[in-house]
């Protein structure tokens, strides 16, 4: 038996040298390729030293289900052609909602292997082209279609079951979940690319205007808390999760330019190095070791922390996969950032707010920035890049010596988890 290497190391340094983000939202007139191109254009327009698109040697694109949402498969070829990069090799990566988290990892490995020096990683999802019920069906396909879906489980339903188990064990309550949502909506209001680039108060006013236009009964709320506690405004999706516990259905794309670290300063004065990355799979919830925790996140983060040679308590900022509010809470615990049961209290105390001790989801997270599922992993990396390079504008974290950050991308309910650790270059 050969001796296997347990402590995985990247054979070569890999850096992010630029990012691009398309506007997130609902765009009936845009197709997958249009949205992806918008992200690539943003990368080119932000580039400091005139990035030449033909310098890109290889691409990995996360996409969950353009085949179901739009009838378009084989996105590697389609997207390479659309941005004028043929015959450069492009590969679509599908890992459910972690698709571009995994595309990022493929790109890192492509450079670390020595095969390439300049790789484009990205993700795209066009979701609003189908009715909500069809989108619900498509999303449910990330769960086990033979053993979870026949029991009536939807995707929100599986996370709702995690929430119920967490509430039962740790006294997490609806108020804690609501605090995650309020925090992320606040951050999203400061992110011009977010689907909800507005305070909750503005959403409330929209509802009131909508009722006035239709001569319906005009609702009244004194504040966002009252709004979120009104089951007419914030109805159950899958008890104990309500509408504002769930990330929206979103069209969007993001991309990042990965380069060999020795080349990074040819592209930017503020590179961000990827110093640890791990990926793991997990079992469906009914066979998970623990109903309040994702083993895949624990395994992937251990791999990433070991590779980076750091401890969780050194992380200063994190973008985590808050497809549902409860997902942010268990991510905080599984990543070792808070002890199990303490994450809810940390949110409650504002410790994860924009200027708290450990800001989480400064972009607005999947909840408020939007969740074009195949794009979310790279969109997180883009936010980390902007924060570590001091380019996050209105939502820039003010912490002195901001140096180490983490992102976590999850597929399904813990079926896949990708954890990446970044250091300011």
């Amino acid at each position: 038996m050969v001796e296997l290497r347990r402590n995985r190391r990247l054979a070569k340094g890999v850096s992010i040298a630029g990012v691009g983000i398309a506007q997130f939202g609902a765009f009936p007139a845009k197709t997958t390729r249009d949205i992806f191109s918008e992200a690539v254009q943003d990368l080119l327009n932000r580039s400091e030293y005139g990035l030449n698109i033909s310098d890109i040697q290889c691409g990995y694109i996360g996409n969950f289900s353009a085949d179901r949402f739009e009838g378009q498969a084989h996105l590697g070829s389609i997207l390479s052609d659309w941005i004028g990069l043929t015959p450069t090799p492009f590969t679509r990566v599908e890992n459910g909602c972690a698709s571009s988290g995994s595309a990022l990892r493929e790109g890192v490995m492509a450079i670390a292997s020595g095969l390439y020096d300049i790789v484009l990683v990205g993700g795209v999802e066009k979701m609003t082209s189908v009715p909500t019920m069809e989108a619900t069906d498509n999303l449910a396909s990330v769960a086990d279609s033979l053993y979870e879906v026949p029991a009536g489980f939807t995707f929100p339903g599986i996370y709702a079951s995690v929430a119920k188990a967490h509430m039962d064990r740790y006294e997490t309550n609806l108020e804690h979940l609501m605090k995650v949502s309020i925090k992320n909506h606040h951050n999203g209001s400061l992110n011009p690319k977010a689907q909800f680039n507005m305070p909750l108060e503005e959403l409330m006013q929209q509802r009131i205007d909508w009722a006035k236009e239709r001569s319906a009964e005009i609702p009244h709320w004194n504040d966002a808390n009252e709004f979120l506690n009104d089951l007419m405004a914030n109805p159950w999706i899958a008890w104990p999760l309500r509408l504002f516990d769930c990330a929206p259905i979103t069209d969007g794309a993001a991309c990042a330019l990965l380069v060999s670290s020795d080349l990074s300063r040819h592209f930017t004065d503020t590179p961000v190095n990827i110093i640890g990355i791990g990926q793991a799979t997990g079992r469906p919830l009914h066979d998970a070791e623990d109903l309040t925790s994702f083993g895949a996140t624990r395994s992937a983060s251990k791999e990433a922390y070991d590779m980076a040679g750091i401890n969780p308590n050194q992380i200063q900022l994190a973008e985590v996969h808050d497809c549902f509010t409860i997902a942010e809470i268990i991510a905080m615990e599984d990543l070792g950032l808070f002890t199990p049961g303490d994450a809810s209290r940390a949110v409650d105390d504002g410790r994860t707010s924009l200027n708290g001790e450990l800001p989480i989801n400064t972009s607005g997270g999947l909840k408020a920035k939007g969740h074009p599922v195949g794009a979310s992993g790279v969109a997180q990396a883009a936010e980390v890049f902007l924060q570590l390079s001091g380019k996050a504008e209105l939502r820039q974290v003010q912490q002195k010596g901001l140096n180490l950050a983490l992102s976590q991308s999850v597929g399904g309910a813990g079926g896949t988890s990708v954890v990446t650790i970044y250091e300011r270059g």
Binding site: T132, M133, E134, T136, D137, A140, D144, L146, Y147, E148, V149, P150, A151, G152, F153, T154, P156, G157, I158, A160, S161, V162, K164, A165, D168, P235, W236, I237, A238, W239, P240, L241, P284, L285, H286, D287, L291
Partner: protein
């Protein structure tokens, strides 16, 4: 007569289920039990497995009340005004299984307790897709 020679496949699992048997596999090497009948033992990776019948008794480990159902459940008559309960049941033999939980008050989820004693129920099987269903004991 119980046919124990079916292949270890999902088709076999659901064939048993429509014949009112909750079946799974036991590993002949390590004894691990599994509801989902895979050809390789999850624990020790042995390929020597056998079918076993589960009693169908267990307890509710977690659950949700679905207000926005998928197409398959809409076709079965469920909606925001007619919600239903899906849950995870820990069987008395140990393994857990996802199931439809019937006979609970979906309008008052706070009355449904974690740990609720349940048993498998074959009396209301949908014909479109067989479903593992439980009722309170």
């Amino acid at each position: 007569m119980l046919d124990l020679n079916k292949s270890f496949s999902s088709a076999s699992f659901y064939e048993y289920l429509i014949n009112e048997m909750l079946m799974g596999t036991r590993c002949n090497n390590c004894g691990d039990l599994s509801i989902r009948p895979r050809p390789i033992c999850f624990k020790c990776h042995s390929q020597v497995l056998e079918w076993v019948q589960f009693s169908g008794f267990g307890s509710l480990s977690t659950f949700t009340i679905i207000a926005i159902p998928p197409t398959i459940m809409v076709n079965r008559g469920f909606s925001r005004d007619n919600t239903y309960c899906s849950g995870i049941v820990t069987l008395e033999e140990g393994p857990r299984v996802s199931g439809f939980i019937s006979g609970v008050d979906c309008n008052n989820p706070d009355t449904i307790e974690i740990g609720l004693s349940v048993k498998v129920d074959f009396s209301n099987m949908w014909e479109d897709l067989p479903t593992v269903m439980f009722v309170p004991r």
